[in-house]
Symmetry: C2
Subunit: 442 residues, 2 copies
C-alpha cells in the first residue's frame, strides 16, 4: 500500500467540486468496495470489459466487482441515461465525446444506486460481475497519442546524462515540450511486451549493429484521456482545458534506450518507443479526483512566468494532482519489489496547460486521444521514474531485495505501476494497476 | 507541364509488372482521358468523391471525369467485385485492407470497361461524373501518420543551416530517420491552411513571444498509403514491404519554422507541424507506377551498405520511383510560378525500406496509415523542396517573375504541388494537385 501523499511537499487546497459522491461516510452494498484500496464507492472509474460470453462494453469498477452500466441504464435518472447508453459501445469514445455534464450525472446516478442504502441493490446484483472473471480492454479507440515531457526532474536527470553542464534546454521552462507518439501500439495493461529489435550503437562502437534491444526500460507516466475535443483551427483556451479532459490512467512509455540513443537526432524518438505503450484499463474521472486537486507549486525563483495562453488562476490554484505513483518490479525469481515512489505534483506543467499548449496552434484533439505526462520523477533517487535515472544509464546497477541486480529490464521481468490519492477527510482512491511483462525478442 | 524525368540522373530499368493495362496504344471512350496530363486510362487512381446529392464513396479518375466504382461493380468480372464493393465505403481503408491482388483485379477490370473498344460504354456513362462538379475527400481514415526524412539533399541543406560543419548526423546513412506526425490534422488538398500561432524565439531574442508564425513554409513530400498492414510484434520483411503499400500521393508537410526552431529540442517537431498537413486526393496505385520504377542509385563511395533488414536485391533493382515533382506558388498578385522541380529518385531510402524500418521493432501499421517521405530536394538550387532551403532560412529572398519577393509564405499565398511520371514507351501519368492556401491567423 502506498502511503498517502508520499513525496508531495505541497499544501492541499480546497476542492470546490467535492460533492455528496465524495462523502467519506458513504459505503456500498458491494461489500468489497468498502475499504477497497482502489475502487471504493467514491471512485467509480469507467472501463471496457467483457465476460466469458459477451462482447466488450462499458462498466464501472466497484470493489472487486464490475457493474455492467448499459444493462442498468433504465434504473438511472433520466439525465444519466445518455452516458449509460453510450457505454454500450465497445469503447468509451462515445461517452468521452459527451463531455463533463453527462459524465457527472452518470457518476451521481451510479453513486446513489450503489450505496449501502440503495433500494435497487437486488436489481443491480445480476449485473455485477466478479472482476477476476472478466477481461479488461483498451478503454478507447485512440486516434492520436501524444507524449509530453513535463517531469522536470526526469528531464534534468536524462539531460544530465547527455549534457552534464546544461541538462535542461533553454525552451524547457517556456514550452510544455511534447512529441507525437504511436497510437496503434498502445495496449491495455497486462498485454505482454515483446523486446524490440533494432539498430543499436553504443558511443564506443564505430557502426550500428542490428539485434534485440539491450537497454530496455520503462517510464512511469500519467495518462490523460481527451473528452470532447476541439475543431481544427480552434484552440482550447487554458480556462476550458481542464473540462476537455475525460479522465486519467497510468501509462508506461516503454523505451529502448540503445535504439533511442542512436536514432533520435534530429527528429526525436521513433522505434525506441513505438513497439508498445501500456495504459491502465480504468479511467479515473476528473470528478473522482476532485478532492485530490492541489495548487500548482510556485515556480522556483528565477523561472519565467508561463506565457499568457498557459496561465489561468483557477488552474494554478487547483489544476495539479496529488497522486502517489509507485513502480514495482517482479522478476522470475522474486518480488514485486518497489523501485520508486513519486508524486504527480512534481510535474512542471498541469494537464490543462498540456491541452492548451497542444491546441494553441490549431491542432485538433478528438475524444479518446491520449496524452502522456512525461516521466514522473521526484527530486530524490527513491522517486526516479525510469531505470535510466536509477542506474545512471546502466552504469550503477540497482540491487533488488533478493540480491538480484538490474541495469535495465530482463526477459521475464514484470513492471507494475500503481497510483493512489489520499488526503485528510477523503476516502483514498487508487488507479488499479498498469503492468507488462517482457517477452524475449523473436 | 513538367518535362519527363526531369532531374533524374539515373538509368531506367525494366518494369516486370508492366501489363496490358499499361499498353501505350490503349485509349478510352472517355475522350478527355486521351492525352490527359494526369489521368489517362493507364493511371486509374482511386479516391473518395461526392456529387452534390450523394454521400462520399469511392471512385476512379479518368480524364476529366470520375467513375462511380461501386455503382458499376456488377459490370466487373467476379475477381474485381470485392474491391469495387469495398469502395462503397466513405474511405478507402477497406479496399486498402484487401491488399494487392483484389486491387490489381479491379484495375484490370476497370481498364477493360473504360477502353475505347468497351462494349459497356453506354452502361458506364450514367456513372461518370464531371470531376469539376464533384467534391474530393480525404482518401482514408488515417490511423497514424509518420513523417520520414529520406530527402538527403534536404537533410543536408537543413542541417547546414544549423551545423555548417556537420550537416548530416552520424545516423543518417544507417537509419531511415522518421518521427510520428499528427493524423487528426491531415486534410485533403484544397483545404485552407490557417497560419498557426505559437511560441517563437529568434536566436537573437532573449525570451520567446507568442503570436502568429512569421516563418511559414511548405515541404514537398511523397505520401505513401499503407495497404494491408501488420500485427503488433510482426515486422514486415523488406522483401514484402513493397506489397504493403496501397498507393502514393503528394504531401505538404506545412512547417512553422520559427516555432520549430524553438520547440523541437530534444524531442522533435510538434506544434510546428501539427496545425495542418495536406495530401492530394487521388491515390496513385503501385500498379499504375510499375513502368516508372527504377533502380535505387548506387550509394556514393564511402557510404555504408544498409543493414540486412533494409537490403533486398529486388527493391534495389526497382524499388525507387522516377517522378518529377514540382512546386508552384500563386500569390494574390500573380502566378502560379514554379519554385522548384525535383525528382523522387533523390530519396536516399526506398518506400519499401521505410516500411521495413518502421515495423522492424514490432510497430504495427494499419490500412490507411500514411507515411511522408521527407522533403524531396534535388542537389541543385532549382530543385529545393522548401523555402527554408531556397531562401537560406529567409536570409536570401526569392524574387518571383512578377517582381514580388518571398522569404516565407504570406497570407493569401497558395502552394501547389504536382508530380508526373514519364518514360520512353509509356504513356505519362500524373498525380493531380496538392494545393493549399494560407489564411491569416485568427
Amino acid at each position: 500500500m502506498i502511503p498517502a501523499g508520499t513525496g508531495c511537499p505541497r499544501p492541499l487546497t480546497g476542492g470546490a467540486e467535492v460533492d455528496a459522491t465524495h462523502d467519506p461516510k458513504l459505503t456500498s452494498f458491494v461489500a468489497s468496495a468498502n475499504g477497497h484500496p482502489d475502487f471504493p464507492i467514491q471512485n467509480l472509474p469507467l472501463g471496457i470489459f467483457s465476460t466469458a460470453s459477451g462482447k466488450p462494453h462499458g462498466g464501472v469498477a466497484i470493489g472487486d466487482m464490475i457493474l455492467d452500466v448499459p444493462a442498468i441504464a433504465t434504473l438511472l435518472p433520466a439525465e444519466a441515461r445518455a452516458a449509460a447508453e453510450a457505454m454500450g459501445a465497445e469503447s468509451l469514445n462515445a461517452v468521452f465525446a459527451l463531455g463533463p455534464a453527462p459524465r457527472r450525472a452518470l457518476r451521481a446516478g451510479l453513486s446513489a444506486l450503489l450505496t449501502a442504502a440503495s433500494a435497487k441493490a437486488e436489481q443491480l446484483r445480476p449485473h455485477l460481475h466478479a472482476a477476476s472473471a472478466c477481461t479488461l480492454h483498451l478503454p478507447a479507440r485512440i486516434g492520436d497519442y501524444t507524449d509530453f515531457y513535463a517531469g522536470i526532474h526526469h528531464a534534468t536527470n536524462a539531460g544530465t546524462l547527455f549534457r552534464p553542464d546544461n541538462p535542461l534546454l533553454p525552451n524547457y521552462k517556456y514550452v510544455p515540450v511534447g512529441y507525437h507518439g504511436r497510437a496503434s501500439s498502445v495496449r491495455v495493461s497486462g498485454s505482454e511486451v515483446r523486446r524490440p529489435k533494432g539498430q543499436r550503437k553504443l558511443p564506443e562502437e564505430t557502426a550500428p549493429t542490428f539485434g534485440p534491444c539491450r537497454n530496455l526500460d520503462y517510464e512511469m507516466e500519467l495518462g490523460i484521456w481527451i473528452g470532447s475535443g476541439n475543431a481544427l483551427g480552434e484552440p482550447v483556451p487554458i480556462a476550458a482545458a481542464g473540462e476537455a479532459i475525460a479522465g486519467y490512467g497510468l501509462l508506461n512509455d516503454w523505451s529502448a534506450r540503445d535504439i533511442q540513443g542512436w536514432e533520435a537526432q534530429p527528429l526525436g524518438p521513433f522505434l525506441a518507443k513505438n513497439f508498445h505503450t501500456s495504459i491502465s484499463p480504468w479511467v479515473i474521472t476528473p470528478e473522482a479526483l476532485a478532492p485530490f486537486r492541489i495548487a500548482q507549486p510556485p515556480r522556483p525563483e528565477g523561472d519565467p512566468r508561463p506565457l499568457d495562453y498557459l496561465w489561468d488562476e483557477a488552474d494554478q490554484a487547483r489544476g495539479a494532482l496529488d497522486l502517489a505513483v509507485e513502480v514495482l518490479l517482479e522478476t522470475p525469481k522474486g518480488g514485486p519489489f518497489r523501485l520508486s515512489l513519486s508524486n504527480t505534483s512534481f510535474l512542471y506543467w498541469t494537464p490543462a496547460q498540456m491541452v492548451a499548449h497542444h491546441t494553441v496552434g490549431g491542432c485538433n484533439l478528438a475524444p479518446g486521444d491520449l496524452l502522456g505526462s512525461g516521466t514522473i520523477s521526484s527530486p530524490t533517487e527513491d522517486g526516479y521514474g525510469a531505470l535510466l535515472e536509477i542506474t545512471r544509464a546502466g552504469r550503477k546497477p540497482v540491487t533488488l531485495p533478493n540480491g538480484e541486480e538490474r541495469r535495465f529490464l530482463e526477459d521475464g521481468d514484470t513492471v507494475i505501476f500503481r497510483a493512489r490519492a489520499a488526503r485528510d477527510g477523503a476516502v483514498p482512491i487508487g488507479f488499479g494497476e498498469c503492468r507488462g511483462r517482457i517477452r524475449p525478442a523473436t
